[in-house]
């Protein structure tokens, strides 16, 4: 298999392991873009999803926004933002956030809304405030699904952050774009392997987070 040959050649080349174009540097850049975009998307999507899910209102608006956001092509948005904002992180963050908000928003909304109403009513009957109902009753029950949405968003971001290289930023996409223009398949395959590995590591991370954060009662019930 020549793909495997490319992979071993890429990782075996000592020159690929140091300097500003080395694997550690590119990996860190990729992580930095991904984590920043994820944090912004979560900061937007989670509260909005929790609130709309809790009140049960705004579902249609939310669905419309999510459909519109998903319809926007990430790559086109990147180029558009580049001509509007020039070099820098902003043109990359916008498409990544637009990409990641819909899964977070929609799953959070759905998760909170479909929580069994009887414990929620019981909590209200006990005199809990609305915010405590949301955070102490609804959220723990909804958590597995909410985490699922966050995980989808994270994996998409990691995979899509490769396009940052087209507007001259770093990250693992650098290897793919450079490899394309330099006709160096070793680089392309190496870069793709790293991105895929990072995406799978992200999945594993969320799986572990789910194990730790989801209350055993909910897990059994799910």
């Amino acid at each position: 298999m020549n793909v495997l040959h490319f992979v071993s050649a890429f990782f075996g080349d000592g020159a690929h392991w140091h300097g500003y174009d080395g694997i550690p540097a590119r990996l860190l850049e990729h992580l930095r873009y991904s984590v920043t975009a994820f944090a912004i998307a979560a900061a937007v999507g989670l509260p909005a999803g929790l609130l709309t899910g809790h009140t049960g209102r705004g579902g249609n608006v939310l669905a419309f926004l999510a459909t519109a956001a998903r319809a926007l092509p990430s790559f086109g948005l990147l180029v558009l933002m580049f001509i509007l904002f020039g070099f820098g992180l902003v043109p990359v963050m916008i498409p990544l956030v637009v990409l990641a908000v819909p899964p977070i928003l929609v799953t959070t909304y759905e998760a909170v809304r479909s929580v069994d109403p009887s414990p929620v009513d019981a909590a209200r009957g006990m005199g809990m405030s609305e915010s405590r109902v949301l955070l102490q009753v609804e959220l723990p029950v909804a958590l597995p699904v909410v985490l699922g949405g966050l995980r989808s968003a994270a994996v998409q971001i990691v995979s899509t952050a490769t396009i940052a290289a087209y507007v001259s930023l770093g990250g693992l996409g650098r290897y793919i774009i450079d490899g394309l223009y330099q006709h160096d398949y070793e680089k392309v395959v190496g870069g793709a392997t790293l991105v895929a590995a990072l995406a799978l590591a992200t999945l594993a991370l969320f799986w572990a987070a789910g194990r730790l954060a989801v209350s055993p009662g909910v897990r059994r019930g799910g």
């Binding site: 500003y20 070099f87 507007v167 001259s168 450079d178 223009y181 330099q182 006709h183």
Partner: protein, 319 residues
């Protein structure tokens, strides 16, 4: 718990729904199929057939313009032409012309030579042509070179030039001691090319602070140089932006960027003698000033390259 919860109450309505599944498939098939009726696709790969000449171009505006000039000149002689513009870098297009997927490609002799033979150091256009012919794939040939030259370069922005007191009379060699403080930008392929970082190190002994991958003398490169994101960059010497932005192109006394005459590279089996004559006639009339002028019309005056190509061919009596 799923969206099909209400289904078991109406089993009777499900009979005769074999058509449903078929319809679902048909719907998607139809959707996809209805748009495929717009005839042959010029972008499809594969060899040219039936005497059609495929004129390709690399991924920068001048190459697209030159391809239009070649193509329209061929059409004027009755040759059937299709275009494959904006394919990619030489690293890609050379492979495509070698296997006959494209027939004609505008090339720059020195740059092509540097791609074929990293060690070559020709002293003239003629030597360049001879050296290329020695290395060129036997299925390919270079036609007559034109007088028009467009080289890669090391170009500084005005800020950097004045900071280090460099002018257009200064040379790349003057960057010795300065380069380590400069970020240089260029196309991703510039990083690994002889006429790029590799040659700058070997020939001039320069190592830059870092390399920023941009595009082939395109909008990213010019923007980065303008904004001082990079202090030096590979800009094509015929670029109208150089004058506009007061960029400083450094001299190249050791001829790293060599001779870069515009010259058609041709897949031998695909072009008739008539076609060869038509392209040689273009090369005879094309000079650097023309290239600058036509480039400015496309890049600064927003004219369509095809219109610019046609207008020039007509004024030069070639169409």
């Amino acid at each position: 718990m799923t969206s099909t919860g209400g289904s078991n109450r109406s089993l009777s309505r499900l009979s005769g729904t074999a058509a449903t599944a078929a319809a679902l498939l048909a719907a998607t098939g139809l959707l996809a199929g209805c748009s495929s009726s717009d005839g042959g696709d010029p972008l499809d790969g594969g060899k040219a057939d039936g005497g059609t000449v495929v004129v390709g171009s690399n991924n920068f505006p001048e190459s697209i313009l030159l391809a239009d000039i070649y193509g329209e000149a061929l059409k004027a002689k009755g040759v059937k032409v299709t275009y494959k513009p904006n394919i990619g870098s030489r690293e890609t297009t050379y492979g495509l012309i070698k296997n006959g997927s494209i027939t004609v490609l505008p090339e720059y002799n020195g740059s092509l030579l540097a791609y074929l033979d990293k060690k070559a150091a020709p002293k003239s256009t003629e030597e360049t042509t001879a050296a290329i012919n020695a290395k060129l794939d036997h299925k390919l040939t270079l036609l007559q070179p034109s007088a028009a030259q467009d080289k890669d370069s090391v170009t500084l922005n005005a800020e950097t030039a004045s900071k280090y007191k460099l002018t257009s009379q200064s040379s790349i060699a003057d960057l010795k001691g300065i380069a380590k403080d400069l970020v240089i930008g260029g196309s991703p392929e510039f990083q690994t090319r002889q006429q790029g970082l590799v040659g700058l190190k070997e020939v001039y002994g320069l190592e830059f602070k870092s390399f920023k991958a941009l595009d082939a003398g395109g909008p990213l490169t010019k923007e980065a140089l303008k904004k001082n994101t990079v202090q030096a960059a590979d800009i094509f010497t015929t670029d109208p932006t150089i004058a506009k932005e007061k960029f400083v192109v450094l001299q190249d006394p050791k001829n790293l960027f060599g001779f870069a005459n515009v010259q058609p590279l041709v897949y031998k089996g695909g072009l008739s003698q008539q076609g060869v004559d038509a392209l040689n006639a273009v090369s005879a009339k094309l000079d650097t000033k023309t290239l600058l002028d036509l480039g400015a019309q496309v890049q600064l005056d927003d004219k369509d390259p095809l219109d610019v190509a046609r207008a020039w061919l007509e004024s030069a009596g070639l169409a």
